[in-house]
């Protein structure tokens, strides 16, 4: 490009009200044929959406790679974005408007090559701005920008200021910034686009180029535009794009450009100020809005205080030599005059006034993503539309078949709803909230609280990144999680989730993962837990109309593994014995519940545990109790065991520990076994004083959670043994401890158990 035939290049700052205003003024003046805007060139075809009257800003265009790992670029626009105003102006005046930056597919390819997840460029940029802060003497570049650019509304100040600023910024950063190379390619591409426009016959002076201030210099310099060959060499990935409504909240928390969007609601006030032609409009309305919020929330703020705050903010600005207060001045003035010097008092009001709750919307149908379509289709189909309100609504589901209705669809309506809601929950969409059901074991009842927020809409759009429908996205999400997880218990949890979501394919997918890592699993406790949760899924799978066949082999495999590992794991100390007993109990339940688990094998294992002498006696006792409960232990066998375990010479802790384990189950049966009590009595008689004290500790623990009724039954047994009046014994057993006994027991606490 030669010096003469240059189009007008208008440098802006993204999301800049002053930029938007001045740009419109310039466009009105120049009346160009063509407006070129810095923005991915493939977005040009989407511009009609922006011009639609039903579109309410802020909105964003998102481009994302079709395959994983997913990279995205987001192009958010607010009403005060110069880019948006450029598009609007072109539309109003029937002129052409085009985006001229690299296509989004190229951007995404660069990101993928650099291994960047999302706009990581920001961090790099921040260091640039820090240098800028040091140069400008203010401690926030936002404030500097605002003061120098946003408040300047006379003549071509903005136009020139942005140019100088961009030039300086370039000098500061060029050769230091990581994305220098990308910048060069981008500018060469934009120049190519500009040249193309000129070549097509539009006079250069009939073209206005809207671009970030940073690029103005680059576009003016006489570097070459991208050649055809180079164009062909640009990397590219398959990508898609979608419009989405955006919110000021997101605009402030996920700024992509590192400038000018921390306080969108305030910037909107600036924009309105420009439209009204009142330079101090934003200052006044900021403080009034803040005061209004305070009053609404019960904090008294008088008009006098607002007036004082306005005055203070202006004098703060003057202190820096400016006429109009910047956001920082306003905030400090509000803190001083309305917050009694404490920022905490106004913090919430500040957040509301600066960021606000504005959320954009798009015309129906135009730009709905497939996930959104899917979501709304389900809402209609499942009659959930009416829950789309901002007030929280309760929804109680009964998953059982409704016998009173005719069609199968309505008979299982609640079940389908449950699947749908669980999928949304897995995707983390804030529309749904799963509540715990009070009633225990009511596997058919579910309680949900549904509340629609526009944020949820955005979350749904973002779900598009994971899949084209709610179902696919949920599956994707779970697969990703399953791939990350290593523990079998965690995988079992995901299997449970897939059941809740009604996704049989997911069940088989995770089951296969489980199968693979189950081979490595060595902790009996964890295996037992997994067996337990899988067993529940199989048991209650039918209520969700899901076949759990795929789970059966895994459960068998895990159960077998547990059986093999269990006996050796029972060589453990007292602390671990509690966990082992829990494991035995869970495995036992599973064995009882499912016929396909080998009963014979299980009983063999339990018998082994019950009989071996080298295992923790408490677990052995518990195993004996299991056998007794199952009726595989005859009275005679029990007696034999009792005699063996409680015979003279057995250390007190082992004997009493065994009894503790035994008494953890089917107490009623135990109480009726007279021979047991006889043996116990005889055993205790053999102990000397010191040993008796030890045994007492275990026995106290064993009897601790017997009920009063059970205790008196035992007393009756003992009374009979000792030929005493059962009532008297019962009284003694159930009586509260006397002072004396208490003291004796306390002595026992000092007893040295170190060698046990």
């Amino acid at each position: 490009m030669g010096g003469k035939e240059q189009p007008i290049i208008f440098g802006i700052r993204h999301l800049s009200p002053a930029g938007a205003w001045n740009l419109r003024k310039l466009l009105d003046q120049v009346m160009p044929q063509l407006v070129l805007v810095e923005g991915p060139s493939d977005f040009t075809e989407e511009l009609s959406v922006l011009a639609d009257r039903k579109t309410k800003l802020p909105v964003a265009v998102m481009a994302y790679t079709s395959d994983t790992p997913i990279h995205t670029i987001l192009y958010p626009l607010a009403e005060y974005s110069p880019e948006y105003q450029a598009v609007l102006w072109a539309n109003e005046h029937d002129k052409e408007c085009r985006f001229i930056d690299l296509p989004s597919s190229v951007f995404l390819a660069y990101m993928r090559a650099a291994g960047i997840e999302e706009d990581a460029g920001e961090e790099e940029r921040i260091s640039v701005y820090r240098r800028l802060d040091e140069l400008s003497g203010e401690d926030a570049h936002e404030t500097f920008w605002e003061r120098t650019m946003e408040h300047f509304s006379e003549g071509d100040g903005y136009f020139k200021g942005a140019e100088v600023f961009g030039k300086n910024l370039r000098e500061l950063t060029q050769g230091k910034d990581w994305d220098d190379a990308e910048t060069i390619v981008r500018e060469a591409y934009m120049k190519r686009q500009i040249k193309k426009a000129i070549d097509s016959g539009i006079a250069p002076e009939q073209i206005v180029v809207v671009t970030g201030a940073y690029h103005t210099q680059g576009l003016k310099e006489s570097t070459l535009e991208l050649s055809d060959q180079e164009l062909g060499q640009l990397p590219s990935v398959e990508s898609q794009k979608t419009w989405m409504p955006y919110s000021y909240y997101r605009l402030s928390s996920r700024s992509g450009y590192g400038a000018g969007n921390k306080a969108p609601a305030y910037y909107e006030l600036l924009w309105k100020g420009y439209q009204k032609g009142e330079a101090d409009y934003a200052a006044r309305s900021y403080l009034s809005k803040l005061a209004f919020w305070q009053r609404q929330n019960g904090n008294m703020v008088s008009s006098a205080e607002v007036i004082e705050a306005v005055r203070l903010s202006f004098s703060l600005a003057e202190l820096h030599g400016y006429r109009i207060p910047a956001l920082r001045d306003l905030r400090d003035a509000a803190m001083t005059c309305m917050g009694h010097g404490n920022f905490g008092e106004i913090a919430q009001a500040v957040a509301d006034t600066e960021i606000g709750t504005t959320i954009g919307s798009l015309p129906q149908g135009i730009s709905r993503t497939s996930v959104q379509n899917d979501f709304y289709r389900f809402l209609d189909e499942l009659h959930l539309r009416r829950y789309c309100s901002v007030t929280a609504d309760d929804l109680h589901l009964d998953l059982r078949e409704k016998l009173t209705v005719k069609s199968e669809k309505s008979a299982f309506l609640d079940r389908e709803r449950s699947f749908f809601l669980h999928r949304l929950r897995v995707l983390g969409i804030s529309f749904v909230n799963w509540q715990q059901v009070q009633q225990e074991n009511a596997t058919w009842a579910e309680h949900w609280v549904l509340r629609w927020t526009p944020e949820a809409e955005i979350e749904i759009v973002e779900t598009q990144l994971k899949g084209d429908t709610i179902l696919l996205a949920a599956a994707f999400q779970m697969k990703e999680e399953a791939k990350k997880e290593q523990g079998i218990a965690a995988i079992a949890k995901i299997i449970e989730e897939s059941f809740l979501c009604g996704m049989p394919e997911m069940v088989s997918f995770t089951t296969s993962i489980l199968q693979k890592i189950a081979v490595e699993a060595a902790a009996v406790e964890e295996i037992a837990k997994t067996v337990h949760s899988l067993s529940l899924v199989i048991q209650y799978g039918s209520i969700r109309n899901l076949s759990s066949d795929a789970l059966v082999p895994v459960l068998e495999q895990l159960f077998l593994r547990a059986c093999l590992l269990l006996p050796e794991s029972c060589i453990c100390d007292d602390n671990a014995s509690r966990e082992m007993i829990h494991a035995v109990s869970m495995l036992n339940e599973a064995a009882l519940r499912h016929e396909f688990l080998s009963e014979e094998q299980w009983l063999q294992v339990v018998t082994e545990i019950a009989q071996r002498d080298d295992l923790n006696t408490k677990v052995s006792g518990y195993a004996a109790a299991v056998l007794l409960e199952r009726g595989t232990f005859t009275n005679k066998e029990l007696e034999l065991q009792v005699q063996r375990r409680l015979s003279r010479g057995i250390p007190a802790d082992l004997g009493a520990g065994w009894f503790e384990g035994l008494s953890m189950k089917n107490r009623y049966a135990l109480i009726t076994h007279m021979s047991l009590w006889e043996s116990l009595d005889g055993y205790l008689d053999t102990l000397d004083d010191e040993e008796f004290k030890r045994a007492l500790l275990f026995l106290r623990r064993a009897f601790a959670d017997f009920t009063a009724r059970e205790k008196s039954d035992i007393a009756e047994n003992l009374g009979e043994l000792w030929q005493l009046n059962p009532q008297q014994v019962s009284e003694i057993v159930n009586a509260p401890l006397t002072q004396e006994a208490q003291e004796m027991l306390e002595e026992l606490d000092d007893f040295d158990f170190g060698d046990i």
Binding site: M300, S302, E308, S315, T336, G341
Partner: protein, 363 residues
Amino acid sequence: MAAKTKVQRLPAEQMFQKEIEALIAAETDPIPTGWKMSPKSVLTYITGGKVGRKVITPKYIGHKRLVEIAIATLVTDRALLLIGEPGTAKSWLSEHLTAAINGDSTKVIQGTAGTTEEQIRYSWNYAMLIAQGPSQEAMLKSPIFHAMETGTIARMEEISRCASEVQDALISILSEKRVSVPELGLEVPAKKGFSVIATANTRDKGVNEMSAALKRRFNIVVLPAPADLESEMDIVKTRVAQLSENLDLNAKLPEQEVIEKVCTIFRELRLGATLDGKQKLKPTTGVLSTAEAISLLANSMALAGSFGNGTITDYDLAAGLQGAIVKDEEKDSLAWKEYLENILKKRGLKWSGLYKECKELNG
């Protein structure tokens, strides 16, 4: 700085006379009515900087923005209320603000439980009043009255110590901006430039709540304790240097290491945790303010100058620390002992001398 005089403590405008003169001489910005210099120059005077070749020493270090807010408040002829814990330089800041703005920091009312309404408005020379009846000559004007007549700024120290009816007397003055003297049938309006800087304590015994009506008449600036060790050390160093010149302490200025030790101990006991935040510790009952650190060091310098070799030793420091920290005999002594054993003892060689001396003193 001013030549040495026999006065124990010179007011700020005399102590920094040369700086103020230099700022006024170099003034280019517009000056508000009743002020001696522009708000910008006031800011330079307080936070430090350069005028031509003259270096302006910083009077208030850290939190520059708060100073900006304070000055901007006074430009709008609003009254300013400085709130903060004891020893956060409230009075210091208010003195220097008035010194720079009016060249006069002496229009002060000291708030106490015994302050009366007359001391805020005016009272009479009763001998003269009885002899001549009410007249302008028999009237004793309060500093605020004077400030209103001359369009300058009056200071009200420790406003929260005054009884509430006395505080209320300020309300009418601040909203009407005039004092009526019914005895003389006189209405005295405030001249442009009149304002009040009040200071108030938040955490002290014997403090009266301020009414909302009075608070509303002030722009409130809360002065925090220094934000980090570096700025606190800066403050202490600057102030100790100024003090020692004034007091002829005959000792060398404390070394950086000594200042660091004192500031570290003070900050840790104030925050109830070690500076690296890894260990919690028991704070003392009293507020260990920066002001106390300054006086502690000046005190140690006096000890060193009078009885030692002129350099602050660990022995001098320990005596000062003991006095500053242990105010409530039993509780503080325990907390201090715990701190010594748990923290100081383990800090290594640099601290071991101080630890030994402190331990000896604290018993």
